[in-house]
């Protein structure tokens, strides 16, 4: 029996005559067109993501009310705490930017198909970690702020006392718990939708092909 693929190969190679042919000028015009590769899209989105979290980190420092509240809450003696957290936040931002750009530079279209995919996925992972880091930080800061609010803020403490006197303490805590829960679900939901939308559309094919490649090696 003749190898069917040999038949296909022969036909495939003969087909060169049927292919379209572009002229020198047509190709020349193409090299100046803008690329629309997914790497470019991922780069833009990552930059926006990183930028968003950097702004979120920096912005509060410029708000006067934030500075006042900070001093009110923690007192002047706690400036070491502020300095350390600030340095830590910026340090982390720098580390992430460094790794992200290192990962981007590693993306090379001349690599093997598998390597290229892995390098692209690696850049995604770095931004992913950065977002998780920020969410964890945001969560911790929220818990810490709530703790200080209930422990040191005189107005909150007097409010709590009046509630306790009122006898509706249980209802208050239930309501507060519910509000915090709804808030958390809302924020996580928004982020989840964002990721599903952006990366679902952008990376669906890449994940599918990467899985195909991985299956090949099993």
């Amino acid at each position: 029996m003749m190898d069917e693929l040999e038949l296909l190969k022969k036909d495939w190679q003969r087909k060169a005559d049927d292919l379209p042919r572009l002229t020198y000028n047509e190709i020349y015009r193409m090299i100046w067109k803008r690329s629309s590769s997914i790497v470019k899209w991922i780069f833009y989105i990552s930059t926006i993501e990183l930028g968003f979290w950097i702004v979120m980190t920096i912005l509060p420092f410029f708000w006067e009310s934030y500075q006042d509240r900070f001093e009110q809450t923690y007192g002047n003696g706690d400036s070491i705490f502020i300095t350390i957290t600030t340095i830590f936040s910026f340090g982390v931002i720098m580390i992430f930017i460094f790794y992200l750009f290192k990962a981007y530079r590693a993306i090379s279209v001349v690599d093997s198909v598998k390597m290229l995919m892995e390098n692209i996925l690696r850049t995604r992972k770095i931004v992913h970690y950065y977002v998780i880091f920020n969410l964890v930080m945001a969560g911790m800061i929220t818990i810490y702020s709530l703790y200080t609010l209930f422990s040191y803020d005189t107005r909150t403490i007097s409010l709590l006392e009046s509630i306790r006197d009122d006898g509706s303490e249980l209802r208050f805590w239930c309501m507060a718990g519910l509000m915090v829960l709804v808030g958390i679900i809302f924020v996580i939901g928004l982020i989840w939708i964002f990721y599903r939308l952006v990366y679902g559309i952008l990376l669906k094919r890449l994940y599918k092909n990467y899985r195909e490649l991985q299956k090949l090696e099993m």
């Binding site: 279209v109 001349v110 390597m115 952008l202 490649l213 090949l216």
Partner: protein
């Protein structure tokens, strides 16, 4: 200097454009998408060209970039309407060359080929282009053994398509 590089590149691509057209044929379904992908591959080739040192042949280097662009980098435009007739037009068989059985077999095989996954397509493509398994495995980034195993599975699949 830059002008010279441009000229050199466009010349090389013009002479080797068949490779890119074949990749476009394999991964797109209409003329507009074909041209779109061709353009993206050209841009990627041009961007990488200053680093091309000629350690490998221009065509070998092209296979990689063209496949990488088609499989991973290229973003299909959503607005496009898929047309089916283009596929059969580009995969058309010159009837005068073959007897009816061969023609029928080829048609079936091209149809089966168009239904393969993106990676499988790349494997078959390189095979049809007479690349050896070492080159195929290096281009895809898989082991030579796996490339052979997969290829024989695809062959078996095609055999089933032809002899149901």
């Amino acid at each position: 200097m830059n002008k010279e590089l441009e000229h050199q590149f466009v010349n090389e691509l013009e002479n080797n454009q068949n490779i890119v057209h074949k990749v476009c044929t394999l991964y797109t379904h209409d003329r507009e998408a074909h041209n779109d992908l061709f353009q993206e591959i050209t841009i990627q080739l041009w961007k990488a060209y200053p680093k091309f040192r000629g350690d490998s042949k221009f065509s070998t280097w092209m296979y990689r970039i063209a496949l990488n662009t088609a499989i991973t980098l290229y973003r299909k435009s959503k607005r496009r309407i898929r047309t089916q007739d283009y596929e059969s037009a580009i995969f058309k068989i010159r009837a005068d060359d073959y007897d009816a059985t061969e023609e029928k077999q080829l048609k079936l095989m091209y149809k089966a080929l168009s239904q393969l996954g993106d990676i499988e397509k790349a494997l078959v493509f390189l095979y049809l282009e007479d690349k050896n398994y070492q080159e195929i495995s290096e281009t895809l980034g898989i082991s030579e053994v796996n490339a052979r195993v997969k290829m024989s599975r695809i062959k078996a699949k095609l055999r089933i398509v032809l002899n149901p």
